[in-house]
């Protein structure tokens, strides 16, 4: 897959400029790449490396540390069933098993139509609403097997509109760098870095 698009390079440069050192923008930029392609393509990682001025191996080292980044194509919807201790106590495993049966794939894999990837994940910070699931990091609470049937059916038939953007899209609102950006932190750090 691709390098970052020109439009994304503009976004990337704006993000980089907010940090005292370019490498600090690495994770946000990788998210941008994942938003673009749904996963982290090698070309995109190499491009991010160029943008922040490090080697591709460094980018890869950082990227692979974090679970959200995917290195091969995943489904349009990543269905994450929380298996943290609270959800474990409240029926998460049963729910995961149910989802596997519904989708006909095991946790950790993707349906053939590339619509769903299903995963058992660690605590997603919704413990009082167990069992919780998230689809592309949008939450559903106290999910019963019936809720799960409906959710999957709705997703399959695209009935949920914009609630679940494609995998890789996180915040749909970006921070902007306004005119009254102070810039003092970066400037002071640059002075220090230049000894």
């Amino acid at each position: 897959m691709a390098r970052l698009t020109d439009a994304n390079v503009v976004v990337a440069k704006e993000i980089i400029a907010r940090f005292p050192r370019p490498k600090s923008a690495l994770i946000p930029l990788l998210h941008l790449a994942q938003e673009q392609d749904g996963f982290l393509a090698n070309d995109a990682m190499a491009h991010v490396a160029e943008l922040v001025g490090v080697t591709a191996a460094e980018v890869y080292g950082t990227a692979t540390f974090y679970e959200m980044f995917k290195f091969e194509r995943v489904g349009r919807y990543c269905l994450n069933v929380c298996t943290g201790i609270s959800c474990h106590l409240m029926g998460a495993w049963e729910l995961l098993e149910h989802a596997e049966e519904l989708l006909g794939v095991k946790a950790g894999s993707t349906t053939e139509d590339l619509l769903f990837t299903i995963e058992g994940v660690e605590c997603i910070a919704a413990c009082t609403e167990a069992p919780a699931v998230s689809v592309n990091h949008r939450y559903r609470y106290r999910v019963t097997p019936e809720d799960m049937d409906r959710l999957i059916d709705d997703l399959r038939h695209d009935r949920l509109g914009g609630e679940f953007p494609a995998h890789g899209v996180l915040a749909r609102v970006r921070q902007r760098t306004p005119d009254n950006w102070a810039g003092t932190g970066a400037a002071a750090q640059q002075a220090v870095d230049a000894r």
């Binding site: 050192r21 998460a92 009082t128």
Partner: protein, 469 residues
């Protein structure tokens, strides 16, 4: 408080009005539909504290109020925020403020709510704190998976900049600071403050050894850095508005202020509650209709985790302990991140133990040998026991491997590792094996759980799919 710790007969909290409740300091907008918007925030008193701090107070005065409040950090370690700010070496600039919004400890659920439902309150606290510690820039590090929190914070930051509440010459004063929204990508360890700093530098989130890298003296880019939790800073506007003393007067003298607890697991009404610190007991929280309304199906508490997955577990004899840091520390566990997980008497202790150990083994950063190898080893032994392949010597082996990670298996834990993650995996084992050894032995002898408990169909153990090891 000591008198209150072990009352002769536990009071019955099942009737309403029997428990102390307090004012809400930071959860006031949780039920306000537009509480997260700029208009909704300002309408309900937002940004008055910032104005007060910047126009009526010096940074030192703000710092003094926070010191007076004796507010303990809400990220887990419970270190007083005002004292921490005082550790910044004088005259070393630039310094940074980093806000820890990486909330990932199993059971913990409060920072996400604060960020989603009241982002401006956090931002206000951040700007005030940046003023107090004279930070040149603040970084709001949100857990990667929290898309809505990121969205709400991004919008709130854009609005706050537009209203001159962040950025250059805030509210017309000399004070300027930027707040940068940034986020992670799924790694629990990044909640640890030095790992968070590494992550913020674009690195793998591996903790640094302290000393020499106490963030207050050498943090982000090796400059002085304050790392504070989301809940900690969300309290700052209230403290500035109402005074540190007013905060101190709430809760107990040894654990001041109100505090958010998330109670999950086998209770009738799990929820997120802001309660007076140090006064409330676990039993009150679990039983009172104002809070959780009792254990589900009228069952009894078999064990509970008092402060996040890293904590030692508590049992029924601990129910009447108040939520007070020194008391809980003394009783051999911690309040940590305010995450309470209740397990009723149907809980399979071996499976629950495995679950928490599995979490830590999955989340080990891999830096220290004992944690990287040891937590995985523990997890695999437990998985084998659950699968019916346990050996009699496995219980001793579990304790022995634990000993290699946390010598003495005591509380507070000692560690052969850099950070407390490895020893955290020892807590569930020490708790469950010591208290419920017979459940482990039963699994080993009979290949299944003791009667009367429910074992979830854990993947990789019960024929399910791939399990992360």
């Amino acid at each position: 408080m000591s008198d209150a710790t072990v009352p002769p007969t536990p009071p019955d909290y099942t009737q309403p009005g029997r428990v102390p409740t307090g004012p809400k300091l930071i959860t006031t907008r949780f039920d306000q539909p537009d509480g997260y918007t700029y208009d909704g925030y300002v309408r309900t008193g937002g940004y008055t504290a910032l104005r007060k701090a910047l126009t009526e107070m010096t940074p030192e005065q703000v710092h003094q109020e926070v010191k007076t409040s004796e507010m303990q950090g809400r990220g887990g370690a419970g270190f007083p925020a005002g004292t921490k700010w005082g550790f910044l070496p004088p005259d070393v600039f630039p310094r940074y403020l980093v806000i820890n919004g990486d909330e990932s400890e199993p059971g913990t659920y409060k920072d996400r709510k604060l960020m989603e439902l009241d982002p401006h309150q956090l931002i206000e606290g951040v700007v005030i704190a940046a003023y107090a510690v004279r930070a040149a820039q603040a970084f709001l590090y949100v857990r990667g998976e929290m898309a809505l929190a990121q969205e709400r914070l991004a919008q709130a930051l854009n609005d706050a900049y537009a209203h001159n509440l962040i950025g250059r010459n805030i509210l017309g004063t000399d004070f300027s600071v930027d707040v940068v929204l940034t986020w992670g990508a799924g790694a629990y360890i990044v909640g640890e403050e030095t790992a968070l700093i590494e992550s913020l530098e674009g690195e793998r989130g591996m903790p640094r050894l302290k000393p020499p890298y106490f963030p207050a003296s050498k943090g982000l880019y090796l400059q002085p850095t304050i790392v504070n939790n989301v809940e900690t800073l969300s309290n700052v506007p209230w403290i500035v508005n109402q005074s540190g003393q007013a905060f101190h007067d709430l809760g107990a003298p040894t654990s001041t202020g109100m505090r958010i607890f998330a109670v999950s697991g086998h209770v009738n009404h799990p929820g997120v509650f802001e309660v007076p610190n140090g006064i409330t007991t676990f039993r009150m929280l679990f039983d009172a209709p104002e809070y959780c309304g009792g254990v589900r199906d009228g069952r009894s508490v078999k064990a509970f985790i008092p402060g996040g997955a890293s904590a030692m577990w508590f049992f029924d004899e601990h129910l009447d302990l108040p939520l007070d840091k020194p008391t809980i520390d003394k009783a051999g566990s911690m309040l940590g991140s305010g995450a309470i997980v209740v397990m009723d008497d149907t809980t399979d202790m071996v499976a629950a133990c495995w679950n928490v150990v599995n979490f830590f083994s999955r989340e080990s950063c891999g830096k220290c040998t004992p944690c990287r190898e040891g937590t995985t080893w523990l997890q695999r032994i437990l998985k084998r026991i659950l699968a019916g392949d346990g050996r009699p010597e496995d219980i001793d082996l579990l304790m022995d491997v634990s000993e290699s990670i946390s010598p003495g298996i005591a509380w507070p834990p000692r560690q052969t590792t850099i950070c407390p993650l490895g020893p955290s995996a020892v807590s569930p084992i020490a708790s469950a094996v010591r208290r419920f050894r017979h459940e482990f032995e039963h699994y080993i002898q009979h290949g299944r759980a003791v009667d009367g408990v429910v074992t979830p169909p854990i993947h990789g153990v019960h024929g399910g799919a791939r399990i992360h090891v």
